[in-house]
């Protein structure tokens, strides 16, 4: 018998493995919600308000009901007779938070169909179900809605004025949320500061707009009285929980599944009325019902994001050291508030960034307006915070006559000061501790990748002499990732010896099937191909949270790790029994369990699974129960902090207002990297969305509350020609808060680009003494800033 040397396995974590998802997606064999075909399936269309604010006097569905092919019609008024309004659909805040943070919230509960008022253009008033989408749309045109228009309010500050039209009359105000946090004595610190500066910053309204719109299919199985909901969602367990309340069924009788999801970015990260109404209607009609959102709908009823006004005041010294930072901001949450204070509070705690701020205060007011509701979109409040803070850094630098890079260096937390206690609570209620990272290192790497600030300033001087406008912009942030409350994982050894893992995570293109397989392959010494991953299905695992907030890599990896530990012990106990050795003599190797140092002495995982079965002829030792399955709910101690510096050089053609991005670098740190190819994809994808928000994407309402950007003609997404190549630099500060040492990376790319562009363009145009303190930054603004357009139209 030949002596086989146990070969040292190269870990799969860390490798740029191509994805297992690709095969089906590349060949047109993916299955998205619109691809699902069920026998007898009917098609739903929503009748949506074309006015921003009105009392609903009557909804006449009679002509629609008798239109060809129509099977069922329902208005909000009808629905009220069938269902009470749905209870709280918000992300709840833990007691630890509510006990420590000064706050006040009203909770407007959005009905599944509007019945008393319509509160934004696009709000659903009625639903029509017909044999085809075409027929349903024909019938929808026949619905007559009697609306008594009310004056709309589309400006958050106006909404907070005493005489503003009210959206939710019972609150007698449009101020539906308010909170404040801080540390230090702000008044004293500001008064004592040698210098002060006050500015308003505005980060405008834009949205995720994934390439796949939303969609829901509902099916009631009469035999078992169970309901299946397929939804293009990021939160299947949450949908099920809400559906249980609406449908008055136990969760065990409801299954929610997300098939292939064509992008989410947060917009699909909460429960929408359609998620609940469609299954309700399906049960009412006794046939599967399908609703596929079209793009025009998407722009006027899937949640918008950003839309914050910040009034910031800083006190600083002559070197540019920030002594006090105060922010009062208004968050325009639109007509409803599905995520409560989630985004606004994210903004608040991300304002300090990677800087030392002894005295800090932020007050936030959440205002209701006649616009689409505001919900998280990649970054979820962090881009707005970073915009305010990083613009302020540049303005302070200009005041004291120092380079913006220099002022950042001065204020940054040093590596030796880590872990750094910020002395503010995160939204999980835990005190914020920046656990690991080298912010100065990241800044230096980014600037070096740009060729260095000195060299750039020299080029800039020369260019100015030739009438060209080069600018350098920096945007630095820290990001709390991997937030709780928990995520689930079940690990099971399949009779084949393959490893089955189920989790509550819900992918939308991140490559979770691949990266989780890499982790499990390392944990169990198998091939990634021998790992079966089940995600986004409430039948696969009974409890889960879902994928939002850059949390799944962190929380699922830890849940898999912790689920695997007791399971491994059990596997070893059984294997030890089979091999007649001590469990401590054993190791996992290549799909088997073997005695350390004895290559031939091993049993395969399949054999162990067989041996562990219940009933006759098992090989379990005494005291070891049957079955090889373990479920764990990982509760993160708190968030773990990723960070990055983005920096760019721009060349601004002031005659046309065109911005050419000469180079854009990203120095980022997400701890241990599971799959570098996928991590880069996330960063670049996020950065492209950030640039879209900075330059092109804009949701505009006119004074009458009409949404002017209701198609892709007006809501401009960046194309490949609009996005530069990105230069990535990596740092790795492993997280001490989870077994793998990972940090989240899904959102980060989108956080800094808007302020990078604002800073770069402000720098390029500094001879004109203009500031770009709002987004988007558009060509006409640049041309006017350069004084090239004179108002002489009659």
């Amino acid at each position: 018998m030949t002596q086989e040397k146990t070969q040292a396995r190269q870990p799969f974590v860390g490798r740029p493995l191509p994805r297992r998802e690709d095969r089906r997606l590349l060949t047109g064999r993916g299955q998205y919600i619109a691809d699902l075909v069920l026998p007898g399936m009917l098609h739903a269309v929503f009748v949506r308000s074309q006015v921003p604010h009105a009392c609903i006097r009557a909804v006449d569905l009679s002509r629609a009901a008798s239109a060809p092919g129509v099977v069922y019609v329902l208005s909000g008024l009808d629905l009220l007779k069938l269902l009470p309004p749905v209870s709280d659909t918000q992300l709840s805040l833990p007691r630890k938070w509510t006990a420590t943070v000064q706050h006040q919230f009203h909770n407007p509960q959005q009905p599944l169909l509007a019945h008393d008022k319509v509160r934004h253009v696009g709000e659903a008033i009625a639903v029509i179900v017909a044999e085809s989408r075409y027929a349903a749309e024909d019938a929808a045109e026949l619905v007559e809605v009697d609306l008594e228009p009310l004056p709309p309010v589309v400006d958050a500050e106006r909404a907070l004025a005493a005489d503003s039209p009210l959206l939710h009359d019972r609150f007698r105000t449009n101020l539906i949320g308010e909170f404040a946090i801080g540390k230090g004595n702000m008044e004293a610190a500001l008064a004592a500061a040698p210098r002060r500066l006050k500015r308003r910053f505005y980060h405008h309204r834009y949205m995720a707009s994934p390439m796949e719109c939303r969609g829901v299919v509902g099916l009631h199985d009469a035999r078992t009285d169970t309901i299946t909901i397929w939804s293009s969602t990021q939160v299947v367990h949450w949908v099920r929980r809400e559906a249980a309340m609406v449908l008055r069924l136990p969760e065990a009788r409801i299954r929610c599944v997300a098939l292939d999801v064509g992008g989410g970015f947060g917009i699909k990260g909460h429960v929408y009325p359609e998620d609940l109404l469609i299954p309700f209607v399906a049960r009412a009609v006794g046939a599967p019902v399908r609703w596929i959102e079209d793009r025009h709908e998407h722009l006027m009823c899937s949640c918008h994001s950003r839309d914050q006004i910040h009034d910031v005041e800083v006190g600083f010294d002559d070197d540019g050291r920030i002594l006090a930072f105060r922010d009062e901001f208004i968050f325009d949450c639109g007509a409803w508030n599905p995520i409560g204070a989630g985004i606004a509070y994210n903004t608040a705690v991300h304002l300090p960034g990677p800087y030392k701020l002894d005295t800090f205060s932020v007050r936030s007011r959440i205002a209701s307006t006649n616009k689409v509701p505001n919900a998280p979109y990649r970054g979820a409040g962090r881009p707005e915070a970073t915009f305010a803070t990083e613009r302020m850094m540049d303005l302070v630098a200009r005041e004291v006559g120092r380079d913006p890079a220099e002022v950042r260096r001065l204020n940054m937390i040093k590596p030796e000061e880590m872990p750094y206690h910020v002395q503010l609570p995160y939204r999980d209620g835990e005190p914020i501790v920046y656990d690991s990272g080298n912010y100065l290192g990241g800044l230096e790497k980014a600037l070096a990748a740009l060729g260095g600030v000195e060299a750039f300033r020299e080029r800039q001087r020369k260019a100015r002499a030739e009438g060209r406008h080069l600018g350098l912009g920096i945007g630095t942030y820290v990001e709390g990732t991997g937030v709780g409350p928990f995520e689930s994982a079940t690990v099971r050894i399949d009779p084949s010896g393959k490893i089955y893992v189920a989790s509550g995570a819900c992918p939308q293109g991140q490559g979770m099937e691949t990266i989780f397989a890499q982790m499990v392959a390392d944990a169990w010494s198998v091939d990634p191909d021998d790992v079966i991953i089940a995600l986004a299905d409430t039948s696969a695992i009974s409890t889960g949270f879902g994928t939002i907030a850059s949390r799944s890599t962190v929380t699922v990896s830890a849940a898999i790790h912790h689920a695997s530990e007791p399971l491994r012990e059990k596997v070893f106990a059984v294997a030890a029994n089979m091999l007649e050795c001590a469990a401590s003599d054993l190791e996992l190797r290549q799909g088997s369990v073997g005695i350390v140092g004895v290559p031939g002495a091993a049993v395969s995982l399949a054999q162990v699974a067989q041996a562990a079965r219940p009933g006759w002829d098992h090989s379990r030792p005494d005291g070891v129960d049957a079955g090889l399955e373990s479920t764990y709910y990982f509760v993160p101690p708190t968030v773990t902090w990723a960070y990055a510096t983005h920096a760019a050089i721009v060349d601004v053609d002031v005659a046309l207002g065109r911005i050419k991005i000469e180079k854009y670098v990203i120095a980022h740190d997400c701890g241990v990297v599971v799959n570098p190819m996928l991590v880069e994809g996330q960063i670049i994808g996020g950065a492209a969305q950030g640039l879209g928000g900075a330059l092109l994407e804009e949701l505009t309402y006119d004074a009458e509350g009409q949404l002017l950007s209701a198609s892709f003609m007006d809501y401009m997404l960046p194309t490949a020609s609009d996005i530069p190549d990105f230069h990535l630099v990596h740092q790795h500060s492993p997280s001490p808060l989870n077994p793998l040492g990972v940090k989240g990376v899904g959102e980060g790319g989108a956080i800094a680009p808007p302020v990078v562009i604002a800073n770069a363009v402000s720098d390029a145009l500094s001879p004109y003494k203009v500031e770009f303190n709002a987004t988007p930054i558009k060509p006409e603004q640049i041309v006017r800033a350069a004084g090239l357009v004179t108002a002489r139209e009659p």
């Binding site: 045109e141 005659a655 960046p718």
Partner: protein, 287 residues
């Protein structure tokens, strides 16, 4: 977003199409490339009772070199024109502008005649039609007639075509050999409609300018010729200061639109800048 129901006809001859146009008068739309019409129908912004599909009339798609004039059938695909050696040789300004029209997949279907007849103020092909002093051939129950480019466009999305007429051919005079030409466009993204665009053709004789033609897109409700600016060049030549003056005159002459894309002042400013840049390029290319 699905279109409303309509009755569909796909005639195989122009006469058949014209008969349908007459028969259904106010409730009919001609379907050419569909790149503008079908999106509007999907939004139900238009809901014609009758759609007449022109795509099965082979006699309408051709590019013919008639020496001094290029004859282009109305249903010629933009893509075919883009890669046509005749277009490239005789009216290269058109090829230059077509590259800015949408994207290759839209040009696979969009037609030369469709773009001109649709008369979107921001479209590039009507601008070229103006700049090259083209002629439109219209056919209707009263027979065939030619309409000069300068008389073709009335207002945004409105032409001189009578409701019972259809555009069958576009004629473009061949550009003089050695003519310099350029298109300068300002759009938010590559392939978007022009917020402002200038097409320039110059023919030089030493320092003199024998002929200058300038036309706009996106700036006003119709593509217009910038005659005053042309006259400056034909009088003063093609030097830098003449070009600058022509650009000023062009900016003064236009009646710019104001919309959510750009204010009137900005369009006027763009007229000046783009005219200047287009002329500099065209002059550099002129033999």
């Amino acid at each position: 977003m699905k279109p409303a129901r309509f009755d569909y006809h796909s005639p195989t001859s122009v006469d058949e199409a014209l008969a349908l146009l007459q028969q259904h008068a106010n409730d009919v739309r001609l379907l050419a490339g569909g790149q503008s019409l079908v999106p509007m129908m999907n939004f139900r912004l238009v809901a014609p009772g009758v759609v007449v599909d022109l795509n099965r009339i082979p006699e309408l798609a051709y590019i013919t070199d008639r020496g001094n004039v290029v004859h282009i059938g109305a249903m010629t695909r933009q893509r075919a024109a883009e890669f046509s050696p005749i277009i490239g040789e005789k009216v290269p300004l058109l090829r230059e502008a077509i590259k800015l029209v949408g994207h290759l997949p839209t040009r696979s279907r969009g037609t030369i005649g469709g773009s001109i007849a649709h008369a979107d103020p921001s479209a590039e092909i009507p601008m070229v039609f103006q700049a090259l002093e083209g002629e439109a051939v219209a056919r209707g129950p009263r027979g065939e007639r030619t309409i000069k480019a300068e008389e073709f466009f009335r207002d945004a999305l409105t032409t001189s075509l009578a409701p019972d007429e259809m555009l069958v051919e576009v004629r473009l005079p061949a550009m003089p050999p050695g003519a310099g030409f350029a298109v300068e466009e300002f759009a938010r993204r590559h392939g978007d409609f022009a917020i402002a665009a200038i097409a320039a053709v110059v023919v030089r004789d030493g320092a003199r300018c024998c002929k200058a033609r300038l036309a706009t897109a996106g700036i006003s409700s119709c593509p217009v010729r910038l005659r005053a600016a042309e006259q400056v060049l034909e009088a003063e030549g093609l030097g830098e200061s003449a070009v600058a003056r022509a650009a000023e005159v062009a900016a003064d002459a236009v009646e710019p639109l104001a919309d959510h894309n750009a204010s009137a002042e900005f369009r006027r400013h763009l007229t000046r800048v783009l005219t200047g840049r287009a002329l500099l390029s065209a002059v550099a290319r002129a033999a």
